[in-house]
């Protein structure tokens, strides 16, 4: 287990290094693109360009340029957004993180609970009309663009029906931090949570249903039935438990991806000022330093999440540990 952990950590560090190299190549070495001009944003002055060339050592050898980029992102953390009046990028990202976490955590709770309910129901009711109906609904959820679902949700809750009793409780678009007002925080996030979870409810429900159907024919399920425990216990303690393996590993990856910027579209549609929204604003201003930093932090988060999932897995299930 220890060797596995060490090897996994080393691999993670290596992947992180290569990620930074890829980002460096995208932002500093795209053929035909002058990095100073790209970083400076719209209509830069000659002085700003000069400053950037000096800060990132653009006239120096490649390894030095790479080192300077890494220093400004991780060590001195003084990467400055030129399009946004010299705001420091890294603290901005840190400040935006709680909003993203609030959104993703809430949505995750909804989609895990509902997906388990739907997956189990569909598997148990196989052969009835309920099963294909649930699966079609799930497929529709997977096929709808999340930002459009958000817009339709806004249309309904902020538009004509807002004045009726149905949706008068929905506050205007935006994010209120939990420390400011827990009630407003919750009210404002309910619709975004539902919107974000729609895609995953369908996906996870389908995966779980398939896994349950596959597990139901395993020998150990037959053994469990043979020893005379109730169907309910067979389902909860044997079938469902084994079927959850794929579910859990998918969840780890998707959750990581969402926190790392995947929730961008939902944040934009609902005006939640999280990390994704920050990236969106940076896009509008062609603010490359901010995008550069969010991409690196996002990718690091995903790589870390993957490593944690893998190590957790190996700890749970010794068969996975490679020797």
């Amino acid at each position: 287990m220890l060797t596995f952990t060490i090897r996994r950590v080393l691999a993670t560090v290596l992947v992180m290094f290569v990620i930074t190299v890829v980002v460096f190549v995208i932002f500093f070495k795209t053929p035909g693109v002058d990095p100073a001009r790209a970083i400076a944003g719209r209509n830069p002055s000659a002085q700003v360009l000069q400053e950037i060339r000096a800060q990132f050592g653009l006239d120096k050898p490649l390894p030095v340029q790479y080192g300077l980029m890494m220093k400004s992102i991780f060590i001195s953390r003084d990467l400055v957004s030129y399009s946004n009046q010299g705001v420091k990028v890294v603290p901005e990202i840190a400040a935006a993180t709680p909003a993203t976490l609030s959104l993703v955590f809430g949505a995750a709770i909804i989609w895990v609970v509902l997906a388990i309910a739907i997956g189990v129901a569909a598997a148990l009711l196989r052969g009835t009309l309920f099963d294909p109906l649930l699966m079609v609904l799930a497929l529709i959820g997977v096929s709808a663009p999340v930002f459009w679902v958000g817009q339709v949700a806004n249309m309904v809750t902020q538009g004509g029906l807002h004045s009726t009793f149905l949706f008068s409780w929905v506050p205007p678009l935006g994010y209120t931090s939990f420390t400011q007002s827990p009630l407003l925080w919750f009210k404002g996030l309910v619709i975004p949570w539902i919107t974000l979870s729609i895609l995953y409810i369908g996906l996870y429900g389908r995966v779980l249903r398939a896994n349950i159907l596959e597990t139901q024919n395993e020998d150990f399920v037959r053994t469990a039935r043979a020893k005379g425990i109730t169907e309910r216990q067979v389902l909860l303690r044997h079938t469902l438990r084994t079927s959850m393996i794929t579910f859990v590993s998918l969840f780890g990856l998707d959750f990581g991806a969402l926190v790392a910027g995947g929730a961008l579209l939902t944040e934009v549609v609902f005006g939640i000022h999280g990390v994704g929204y920050l990236t969106y604003q940076a896009l509008a201003n062609l603010d490359l330093p901010t995008i550069m930093a969010t991409v690196i932090y996002g990718a690091f988060f995903i790589v870390l999440a993957n490593a944690v999932v893998d190590i957790g897995y190996a700890w749970l299930d010794p068969r996975i540990r490679p020797t």
Binding site: F147, W148, V152, M155, G262, L283, G298, A299
Partner: protein, 348 residues
């Protein structure tokens, strides 16, 4: 190679007619029996045909040029001439509401967008861009991934390690953030992207196509490489080696035909994914660039009219939903037909 015995064990009713048929014919028959998948395929084809007919509709039915803003124009509703943009608010056209749906195919069927352009015509033209970028990037992506997977799986050793780690790195990026980084980097330069003799103009549809193809290569690469690895060790490859076949011959006539089905299974699902990605990028204004429109840019345009003219974003959203849904259902059907014994399946 699936022997007849194996087929007999699991195949759906091995009739005498199955004997001696090639696997493609069998798969084709299984697909033809799947009515839902066929209906989905039909729906997708219908959408494609409608979008191809965009110029016909715009020119001969709606009589508009949907690429020209129409702030001062008029149209006919119930026999009366009305302005396309309501409430003449001075020369700047501020605070004007475009006309809503008239449900009259020849006069602004779905209303006008924020610059007075005909939504129904734009919807068809937008579909062309969305489908073109979606299908184009899926083709590019599958091609690139297959080539890389063939090289990695066939040569193995350090080549495989290097390529697989590279794919891991690309896949480690948040998909949308990677696409956004590439897009902004390319779009900051109106001159476009120069790579050797290749030149891609920034506003060209190629920009989103190439970006979307690139970010999904690892996703296709993994299953295809797995398939290559399982084929490389088979006896018929050994037999071919014993006959003195060279590397190219081994790759193209022995291995490739045996991994093509994996790629075909992935393809419709990839088109569904790339169409969704295109719409998201266009919605964020880093996808399809003006003067081109796509369903994503239309939804973005509809944001400002969300509460007054909901059809501006409802219509393109419904089109995306129908297209992607039909592709997903068709993709499921294709997978069930080509790979009836698949271990990893979403549908049981």
């Amino acid at each position: 190679m699936a022997t007849l015995l194996e087929q007999a064990e699991v195949g759906p009713g091995p009739t005498s007619a199955d004997l001696g048929r090639n696997p493609w014919a069998l798969a084709g028959r299984r697909l033809r029996r799947n009515r839902i998948a066929l209906a989905a395929g039909g729906l997708f084809l219908l959408i494609v045909l409608l979008c191809l007919a965009a110029p016909l509709y715009a020119h001969d039915v709606a009589h508009v040029n949907p690429f020209v803003p129409n702030l001062n124009g008029t149209t006919v509703v119930n026999g009366k001439v009305v302005p396309v943009m309501r409430q003449g608010g001075g020369t700047l056209h501020l605070g004007e509401t475009p006309i809503g749906p008239t449900w009259d195919l020849s006069h602004y069927f779905l209303g006008a967008d924020s610059t007075g352009r005909d939504i129904a015509s734009l919807l068809l033209y937008g579909g062309r861009s969305s489908l073109l970028v979606g299908i184009g990037s899926a083709v590019l992506c599958c091609l690139a991934a297959t080539v890389v997977a063939l090289i990695a799986g066939f040569f193995g050793g350090w080549v495989d390690t290097l390529l697989s780690r590279l794919m891991d790195v690309i896949w480690a990026f948040p998909v949308y953030l990677l696409a956004i980084s590439l897009a902004t980097e390319l779009l900051t330069h109106s001159g476009g992207f120069q790579f050797g003799p290749l030149h891609i103009s920034a506003t060209s549809l190629w920009t989103p196509t190439v970006i979307i193809a690139f970010i999904y290569v690892p996703y296709v690469y993994r299953p295809v490489r797995g398939q290559v690895l399982s084929v490389v060790k088979k006896e018929f490859v050994e037999a071919s080696i014993a006959q003195g076949a060279g590397n190219l011959r081994l790759i193209f006539s022995e291995i490739l035909p045996n991994v093509v089905s994996t790629v075909i299974v992935l393809f419709p699902l990839m088109v569904a994914t790339t169409i969704l990605t295109e719409s998201a990028l266009s919605f964020l204004s880093v996808g399809v660039q003006p003067p081109n429109v796509s369903w994503g840019t239309m939804i973005q345009d509809g944001t400002s009219l969300l509460y007054t003219r909901p059809w501006d974003s409802l219509a393109p959203g419904i089109m995306i939903l129908l297209t992607v849904l039909s592709l997903n259902v068709l993709g499921d059907g294709v997978r069930d037909a080509l790979d009836p014994r698949a271990k990893v399946r979403v549908e049981g």
